[in-house]
Symmetry: C2
Subunit: 459 residues, 2 copies
């Protein structure tokens, strides 16, 4: 079984970086996520280096390699990206060595003359996209049954779930060029909008999106690819996954509604997708694996190519996911961000192994650094809904008997400033946080995925 | 107006490369398309260089730059990709200089000692993807009204065209990792297939695709990008387009039918997409521009952001497109490939300028080297249908009164060996050819886009 719990997860391990020992820290030395630093010199030239994070400190692995504190005989991890570290199997050994290097009693780096060029306060370091600042292929799934049922209930009250949903991990390709790091502002998109409910009420107009939304998602990153034409067996799927991150799949609901048939969402999604700064590796997540979500009586058994013992017993990951909103007015008045939802990634109908295996089942070539996202993570309860489209909607498809209310009936969320939101306003900041907690283990966190909405383009 | 006819299109210009003067050549010195050479040395190391083509000869532009026959003071086009050549505006000047260099009376290269390292027979040169052998983002449109109506008639006889079609250049994101150069074999994909017409007839099974198809498409390549958040005005759209190529969007119809709702085609398309070896630049295509397809009475006028005088008068491109099929048995018996269809790119409902402008209208960032494809190019007549799904189908949505036949009724195509095809068999080779012809101008061709179907993965 891949990614077993071992001595690297021992909760008693502490670091000489004291902030890593805070039980509330996302980044104890049991975590050691991977990110990408973007450095810019006085001439404006920029370069990239792979980093990890310990407590409040960012660790530049290229600088560490140059110091030769940890031998890097083949120059394997000094000059290459996250993908190279993952693809050649360097990571498990490097992870152990990094954990030792930052352990309380290890003085090699702590008292090294180059220490300040290797270990820096996180707030002083600029981080790009965690996959060496670039994605070639990005795929977005639709793996939450609760989300699919909620959204289906709005648009097809009599038939919320399409017949393929429980057989296929449904997905579509996203746009790589507009994947942006946490903190990058997001401009409200413009697009074709219908003035009424359907075209019968009037022709479309072009203008700023009025129903701007976020989608809480979890991403996972390919470490090892496959050859074009050859599938990835479900039993080996997780060997191909480097780790996970947080994703906000910003969505323009009014553009989406008018454009999405028959080929799926396009401009409603591809103006921006925000990802968190670190890939939390599968090694760090080992203590938090859970069984795949139990299928209800009468649900079809997944086909053989999507079934394995590991997947059934431990294909899930229990990541607590929270979304916060902060309006411009809230920030001006010093109010804390308001929590909109709280759920867990364990409540997904399809596992990350099933998603990857399905993706490659036709021979599609996966490559190191590819980003796959889960689709909106919504749970069974109202407060675990992962987007405003669901959160401010008054239907409840899980009530018995089903209580389905047309999607246009919305109850706004009240903010501490007295403001109300059905969808996002200019100046709103959306903050996604994710972390794993389990009795007997250190908390493993993802940090934050943030973005502020800017006004639409004028011109 | 961009890309005007000028003296570079003079049909009397001839080359000292005699094969370029053949009136049937795709590559006279009025064309000068851009491609990418993949060189591999004895140690297995590979490198890329930008090439053009003159008659039967490939011209290595990196080797040409090194020769200093044409001054390249800033090293602009020696070491960079097609995208750099386009993005910095080098191309129009370089095109003129190349045309002069290969003109009949120019002896600089013809009698140069390095000539054989610069000019090589095409059959001795390995070419990769024309965009410096890599695509980051690939988008596929659906811009033929005839194709959309044909396909819609099969799946929704009473409502072939969805209400958004004549307002929006519909598109979806494709997979970049499986875009392959002409000649690369294509493995028959496996996937989930329904044994009957719907799920009511039985649960899906996993196995080799039975309804494998090609799609004749035209691609166009971004030369200059835009900033994230800022649109591309329709009046400037063509300034951002470097040129065009041929695309085969291989499609698994049975996988597509079961998977595509609600998020669009995914595994039915992303196993392989074949492109022709050269980008024929917009400069070379200037004499073949046509008005945008005339809209029928009652069709909506495109919204303002999709309208310009140039687009209406000359937004189209008259490229003759032909598809040929050759089965393994035909090749064994020495039979010539059979032509399946013949149409023109001028019959598209949406222009390339409208497609690009729509794509960036929400602020989506376009980057040099991005590939956009038109969707299946089908014309108004039966012999101009651009895929087997349409060609072997017996309906005729353009008959009056409409004669709509369920999509399952198929008339096979007969091959000279006595074989029949409703869809592609293993060993079939699909060959797409494209060229522009107009009285008073030299023929400008695209070469070929080829691929042979290999049997499905077994394991």
């Amino acid at each position: 079984m891949p990614y077993e719990i071992d001595e690297t997860h021992d909760p008693k391990l502490e670091s000489w970086v004291e902030s890593a020992n805070d039980p509330k820290s996302d980044f104890p030395i049991q975590n050691l996520p991977l990110g990408t630093r973007v450095s810019i010199d006085d001439d404006g030239d920029s370069w990239l280096s792979v980093v990890t994070r310990v407590g409040d400190m960012v660790v530049d692995l290229s600088a560490l390699a140059a110091s030769e504190i940890i031998p890097d005989e083949d120059d394997e991890w000094a000059f290459f990206g996250v993908d190279a570290i993952a693809a050649d199997g360097t990571w498990p050994s490097l992870r152990r060595q990094l954990q030792q290097l930052f352990s309380r009693d290890d003085s090699r780096l702590r008292s090294h003359t180059d220490r300040d060029e290797i270990v820096m306060p996180a707030e002083e370091v600029g981080l790009g996209l965690p996959f060496f600042n670039m994605v070639i292929d990005y795929t977005d799934f639709y793996a939450s049954l609760f989300h699919a049922t909620n959204v289906g209930s709005m648009f097809r009250p009599d038939n919320p779930l399409l017949p393929n949903y429980k057989h296929i991990p449904i997905a579509y390709h996203g746009r790589a060029s507009t994947i942006v790091p946490s903190g990058a502002p997001v401009r409200r998109p413009r697009g074709q909008l219908l003035p009424g409910a359907t075209i019968a009420d009037g022709d479309p107009v072009f203008g700023p999106c009025k129903l701007l939304d976020y989608e809480l998602e979890v991403g996972f990153v390919v470490g090892r690819g496959n050859e074009r034409g050859s599938p990835i067996a479900i039993g080996e799927a997780e060997d191909h996954i480097l780790g996970m991150c947080l994703v906000n799949d910003w969505s323009a609901r009014d553009i989406q509604k008018w454009e999405y048939q028959p080929l799926g969402p396009f401009l409603a999604k591809n103006f921006a997708t925000t990802v968190s700064p670190y890939i939390v590796t599968m090694e760090a997540l080992a203590p938090f694996r859970t069984p795949a979500m139990e299928r209800a009586a009468g649900d079809p058994t997944p086909l053989g190519y999507l079934t394995s013992e590991h997947n059934t017993k431990a294909g899930g990951v229990d990541i607590t996911l929270e979304v916060f909103l902060s309006s411009a007015k809230m920030r001006d008045s010093g109010a804390e961000p308001v929590r909109l939802s709280r759920g867990s990634f364990k409540d997904m109908y399809w596992t990350i192994g099933q998603m990857l295996t399905h993706h490659a089942s036709n021979g599609c070539q996966m490559q190191p650094g590819d980003l796959l996202a889960s689709g909106t993570v919504s749970g069974p309860t109202r407060d675990a809904r992962g987007c405003l489209l669901e959160l401010t909607w008054d239907g409840d498809p899980f009530a018995s008997p089903p209580k389905v209310v047309p999607g246009t009936q919305r109850t706004p969320i009240k903010l501490p400033t007295g403001e109300e939101r059905k969808f996002l306003a200019d100046g709103d900041e959306v903050i996604i946080r994710g972390y794993c907690e389990r009795e007997g283990y250190r908390r493993i966190g993802f940090g934050e995925c943030r973005g502020i909405i800017e006004p639409a383009f004028e011109g």
